[in-house]
Structure formats: C-alpha cells, structure tokens
Symmetry: C2
C-alpha cells in the first residue's frame, strides 16, 4: 500500500484513462458563454461540474444563479490549522467559429498525437478537470486533503466575468482563504515548469456607428452621404500608429515598467523571435513597438486590437450599399498600473474628438479589468515552484501572460490574497482559435502538480 504522501499520485496514475474520458464528457457540452443560444448548455456544464464535486466528497456544493451564467461553489474544510486554498477555473468556452477550419468537430473531443482536440480542451475545461481530479485523488486515497479547499468556478470568463466579480465582493467571508489557485495559463515551453506571475488587463468595447438613417445605394448617394464604415476606419486608424504606438492621449501615463531583474530573467527564457514568428504567428513579420523586445511587448506593454466589424454587406459577392449602421469590436490590453476606468474615459473622450462629421458613435463596454502582478516571494508561489519541480524535475520559470484573468485582480483587491497561476497549456494550443487542444501528458502532470503543491502547503512533504 502506498504511503499517505504517495497514495494520491498513485491513485491519479491508475485512473488516468477514466479522468480523460470524464473530461471528454465535459468537452462535449458546448458551453459557449458569449452566445445566447448556448445558455442551456452553459448551465448544463455548471451542473456537470457541481455533480462531480459532490461525488468527490465536497460539501456545500451549490450552483449559484447570477444575472448571467451560474457560479459553482463547494468546499472541504476539515484540515484544521492548515491553510485554505480558493480554487478557481472556468467551465465556459469561446465560440468555435470559424467552424470550417476545425479538423475534427469542436465539441466532439478527438485524440491525435497525445493531444485532445476540442473547444475548451485547454481553456479551461481541461485545466478545471486537473483540479477536480487532484482533489479526487487526495480524497479517495487518503480520505481527505492536506489543506482546506474552497472551489469557485465560473461560466462567464470568456464574456468578462461580471457575475463572479460581483459575487466575490459580496461574499468575502464565505470566500476567505490564504491564497488562490488558478489553472488557466500555460507552460512557457513543453516540459518547462512555469508559474505565471503577471497578467494584462482588458477593456473590451464595441463602437456602434450610424451614418444615414437607412441603407443607401452607393451610386445614388456616394459622395454626399456619410458612410459609417469610413467613420469607424477614420477613428480606428487614429487609435494606433503604424508602429504600434497607441495614440489615445494619456494612454501611457500610468504604465509601470517591469523590474530590471524581471527583464533579465525574460531574456534567459527559451524564446526566439524567428521561431515564435514561424511556429505560432505564421505571418510575414512580427509587428508592434520596435523599441521593445517581443516578450516585453506581449507581457508589459498595452495595446489596441480590432476583432471584427459587423454591419453592411458581408455575404459572398457585391452589394452597392452605404450602410446605415456599422460597428467595430475594439479592445485594449492594459498593464500595471493602468486603471481601466481611467483608460476608458480617455478612450471615450478621444473618440468623441476624432469622430468625423456626419457619423454618430456610441461606445458599448463589454468588459473591463485591470492588469495584475504577484510577488515571487510569496510562500504559496514558493510551494508551487517546488511542487512543479517534483513533477517536472526542472526549475520553474516565472513569466507573465499577455492575456487577462480579471478574477486575479478581484482576489487581490477584494480578498487580499495572492493568486498562484499554475497552468499546463502550451503556446501552440490554439486558444480561442480552431483546433484548440490540450497535451494529454500535461493534463496528468497538472493533476500531480496540484497534489504535490497542496501536500507541501499541508506539511506532508
């Protein structure tokens, strides 16, 4: 019989195939939080997760209704005197389009080359399932866990996470913990244990432009009627210059540079522009502010992107229309210490100023959240570092991510706890893109890393 220390890992290894099959069941639920028609699927995914937490032996399991998609809460608080973890992941996923580019259907998980392909495989259902399976391994092999665990899983991560943010600020007592564990990030390179200690923030808006009162024939009216597409193009062309510099006045005012130590460490990471360009981006060149290295640009420089421009005629062929309405989905990535509300105000003011005559623009805000950084001196970061060393047999590197996990700021600001971002994704996992995947060995290593992490914090190892 395995020792208390080794039993959970042994259990996890013996049950790998079942764990993977269960994950596939979760991946089959198209819990696309951004699309109204998938609302029942999102709920189904929440109930799937809640049921599993109950089965494992968690208590106070609850599917919590919100204005949007439900939260799932559960806890197991019987490790008297030990620290308490607040474990976070999300069960919602991005839309799967463009569908025609998937090699296997996005909601029919398919194994190829030790990867599992599906929408949400790595972001974030696979990484959510790592947590649950680590908990199960500890509970079933030893009858309990080495530390106290609260679980809070959301279904709105891909749409801005408003409900969890409100819930956290309203339930500080219930969520009281010593640290948060978040499994929604990635390894810097295959087999390189990685902890993410910084994230960019996000302000996601939609510019809604109106020109003529109705769609007009571009022959009859072209040259006299304002075209809302041209209006948006004129505005957006003034948001960022050709070299990637954002032109919103005051945009960079509060930008805080990384420390010299951090910059030095980033230079030592196994990263080459050429390979990044070839293997991940696949364009003819990288772009962005020329005076900052690529990782610096991605992790510590803010930027503006356009994600889509709905409106007008977009079907195959030609239609000679000056549309009445056009829109643009425009987001800004923020870095410490930019404040989303301040940036939004500057953005709105600037757009008002540069909106061409004849065009009326409304700005709708889809989501906003600040950037965040976590100190590498935290004892939780240290324990996580050691746990990953146990599993990977290599030193852990500290990185940031260019993405945004707004909950990290909420945990810092509302609960005053640091977040340990222990993610097992890979840079080529096609997050938010067709053929999203999760490397199956990383799924298993994630489970073991969480077990070892909790054991170290519980004083078992």
């Amino acid at each position: 019989m395995a020792s208390v220390v080794d039993a959970p890992v042994t259990y996890a290894r013996e049950n790998q195939q079942r764990f993977l099959n269960e994950l596939k069941d979760l991946l089959r639920i198209p819990s696309v939080s951004t699309l109204e028609e998938h609302k029942p699927d999102v709920r189904r995914a929440a109930e799937f997760v809640a049921a599993e937490l109950g089965r494992i032996g968690f208590e106070h399991v609850e599917v919590i209704p919100t204005k949007g998609h439900p939260l799932v809460y559960a806890d197991w608080l019987h490790a008297s005197g030990k620290p308490t973890a607040l474990c976070y992941a999300h069960y919602d996923v991005q839309p799967p389009d463009p569908l025609e580019e998937w090699l296997s259907p996005p909601f029919e998980p398919t194994e190829r080359n030790h990867n599992i392909y599906a929408r949400g495989a790595v972001d974030d259902k696979g990484q959510l399932w790592m947590q649950l399976k680590a908990f199960e391994a500890m509970m079933k092999s030893n009858g309990g866990m080495p530390i106290n665990v609260k679980v809070l899983i959301e279904g709105e991560e891909e749409v801005g996470g408003e409900s969890i943010s409100a819930y956290v600020s309203q339930h500080k007592d219930r969520l009281k913990a010593d640290f948060a564990l978040i499994t929604d990030t990635e390894l810097f390179a295959p087999n390189l244990p990685t902890l993410c200690v910084g994230l960019r923030g996000l302000v996601y808006t939609e510019l809604e432009a109106v020109g003529p009162k109705i769609d007009l024939h571009s022959g009859m009216y072209g040259g006299a009627a304002p075209n809302p597409f041209f209006g948006l193009i004129e505005i957006i062309s003034k948001l960022k210059d050709a070299k990637g510099k954002v032109l919103i006045p005051g945009f960079y005012d509060r930008v805080k540079a990384p420390t010299k130590d951090e910059l030095k460490a980033w230079k030592r990471l196994p990263f080459k522009d050429k390979e990044f360009l070839k293997n991940e981006v696949g364009s003819t060149t990288l772009t962005g502010e020329p005076k900052y290295p690529t990782l610096y640009r991605l992790w510590a420089r803010p930027t503006v992107e356009v994600h889509g421009m709905p409106g007008g005629f977009t079907a195959v062929g030609a239609k000679t229309v000056i549309p009445s309405k056009a829109a643009a989905k425009v987001s800004m990535r923020l870095v410490p210490d930019q404040d989303p509300d301040d940036i939004l105000k500057k953005y709105e003011k600037y757009i008002k100023k540069i909106t061409p005559k004849g065009i009326q623009v409304k700005i709708k805000v889809h989501s906003k959240g600040p950037a965040s950084v976590v100190s590498t001196d935290s004892k939780y970061i240290k324990a996580a570092t050691e746990a990953m060393h146990d599993v990977f047999k290599k030193d852990t590197v500290f990185i940031r991510s260019g993405g945004s996990i707004p909950i990290v700021s909420d945990f810092a600001n509302e609960l005053k706890i640091p977040s340990v971002m222990m993610g097992m994704g890979l840079p080529d996992d096609n997050l938010h893109a067709p053929n999203e995947k999760f490397h199956i060995p990383n799924f298993y290593r994630g489970i073991e890393s969480i077990i070892r992490f909790f054991q170290r914090l519980g004083g078992e190892k």
Copy 2:
C-alpha cells in the same frame, strides 16, 4: 372605338389592375442574383419574363444560358421602314437584408399609400414590367407596334452584368438597333418628367487581407502579431481623406467636368441640400468634397465607398481574437473619362505601396464598368422628351445619376447606339435598402410614356 393613336393608352388604362397583379407575381420570385442559393429563383424569373413576351406576341423568344444567370431575348420586327429599339431592363434584385427592417416581407408585395413595397419593386422588376405592358397595350389594341422592338433582359445587373456584356459584344448583328430604351432610373422629383443622360461607372473590389496563419488570442499575441483588420483600416484610411478627396495617385487625371450649360441646368433643378439631407440621407450632415455642390458630387465626381468588412468575430458579445483573415468590400464610382482598367491598375499599385508590413492583401474584382453620357441632341432623346410631356404635361429635365448601368457603355461602345434612360423611380424608393417601393401611379405613367415615345418615333403622333 379608340383611334389607332389612343387605343393603346386606353387599353393600358383599362387593364391597370391586372398589370399590377402580374407585377406582384414577378415580385414574389426572390431572384437575388448575388446569392448562390437563389440561382433557381433567378432562372424562374427569367422564364416568367420570357413566357410573358411570348404571350404578348413577341417572336424568337429565348432564355439564353450564360456562365451566370440567363438572358431573355425576344423581338417583333414588323414595322417596316421604322426605327428599331433595343429594350433593356433586368429581372434580378439585390439581397433583401437586413430583413428585420422591412415592414412587410420583401418577397410578398404589399400595397400601402399608393406604393407597392417589395424587393425589386422599382429596381427593376416594376420598370421592366412597364415595358412589357406598353408592348402588350400596343400589340393587343392595334395588332402591332409603331416601331421595331428587340428586347434583351438580364439577370446579373446587381452582380456586374458580365454575361450581357459578353453577349452584346458577340451578337452585334442580332442586337443591331437605332437606340436603346433603358427603364432603370428615376424621376428627379415626383411628377417631374426626367431623362437620365449620364451615369457614373463602377469598379467593385474585395480586399482580402491575411495576417497570422491562424486566429490568435489577442491577449497572448496582441502587440506582436499583425492584425488584418488594422491592416485594412490602415489601407482604407489612406484611400480617401476626411474631406472626401480620393488619394489614389492619378485618380483624377482623366476626370472630365460637366459643361457649363449642364451645371447651370442642374442649379435650376428643385433640389435643396437641407431637404435632401432630411428626407433622404437622414444623417447629421452631408459629406464629400466641400468645393463641389451636392448634385455635382453625386453625378460628376468619382468616389470610394466601403460596403462591408467580413471576417473576425461579428456575433453579439465579445471574442478576443486576432483573426487570421479579414476582408473589405471597396468600390469606386467613376465619371467620364476615367477608364476602369486604368483606375484599377492605379488602385492596385497604390494598395501594394500602402499595405502595412505583416499583412498580405489580395484584390478581387467583382465588377467594372465605365461612366457614360448621352447627348441631349439625339432624336431619340427628343422624342422621349415629348412623350413624357404628353403624359406628365410638364417639361422634361435632364439629369445624370450617380449609379452605374454598365450596359449603357456596352451599347455605346459595341453597338454604337445611344441609350434613352427613361425611369419612373422616385428618390425615396429605398433602392437596395429595406422597404423598397414603387409608386403605383408612376408604374402606369411609365407604360403610357413608352407607348407615346414609340408612337412618336413611328410617326403616329
């Protein structure tokens, strides 16, 4: 019994309600030429028109297959020694979207306030039907027509009219005529008889931009990966300045100004910027080159428009994607003597020059055709002027149109014949927009004007 001269008009008046009912049947066929799924409907519309020509007594009635949608040809050539008309209209229509803005279904013609509402009501099925019903009235009341008539109807007007263009250049003998009659334009104002003697040309393109090889997460890659939307925005923002001046080098080289007489006549037309803005455009202001009056800008100045920008994420909500691909439907309206091929070459060269690094752009050409003007001294224009005076009891005004009817150039260049553009639309008929309509009294006046026009050319009046 009515005289030979009056019999056709009397016949037309007695059959108005039936004519309208037949038009409704034609309008019920969703012959949207730009959408592949409507191909059978487009064919059905062609057959509907051909059958009617046969019923009226035309000969050599033929539905002519093409690479695209069929042409309909028919003739009646028994007015020995009299001129020959080549009568043109089109039976295809624009797509009806956005569907939700229609007050009644686009393919269920509905009468309200003496208008008939339907996609194609005025553009161009209603005006096509004016011709056929004028022919019927002459044939059925007098057993023949005062001049010879060839009919050539197309189903690709809304997609560039490639097939008819090829057919005209390959069948010059069959189509030999003294002039063309085109019913696809509008009255300058209600009750104001109008002949259109000039049209703008059109070059309609699609810019297809590629940035990364796959869709990327805008958090992970934003600031280093080229965004094809920003690429297109950068390009398009350089096509036209904020004052409406096109920036393509050499674009204005061959632009020919209207004559002083023409400009003077335009100033006398019942047109007020304020009313045009309020009643037709409905934006906060008119736009375009400030030094040209509005009608000058619409009729005799070239311009550039954007009709839609497919790609990326366009559904409701937020998706943080840097899309691999984005496109823009961009067209240019041309004036005499700009040459479409020359303009296209300059456009392609300029875009190549201004395409930002990291972005690859392909230019697809949907259609191209030059502008055209017809002399007001032509005897066919004079006869048409008199015919409309007979019906409207008012002097006819000469206008141009900002729209494009490429067939007019083909008739001029290939068949060496002038086109009489006698249209009965109204400026607020919502061409190419939701709630397209045709004023029913204008449908009837169109029939009578064609009868009187042909009678004058046949020496009957």
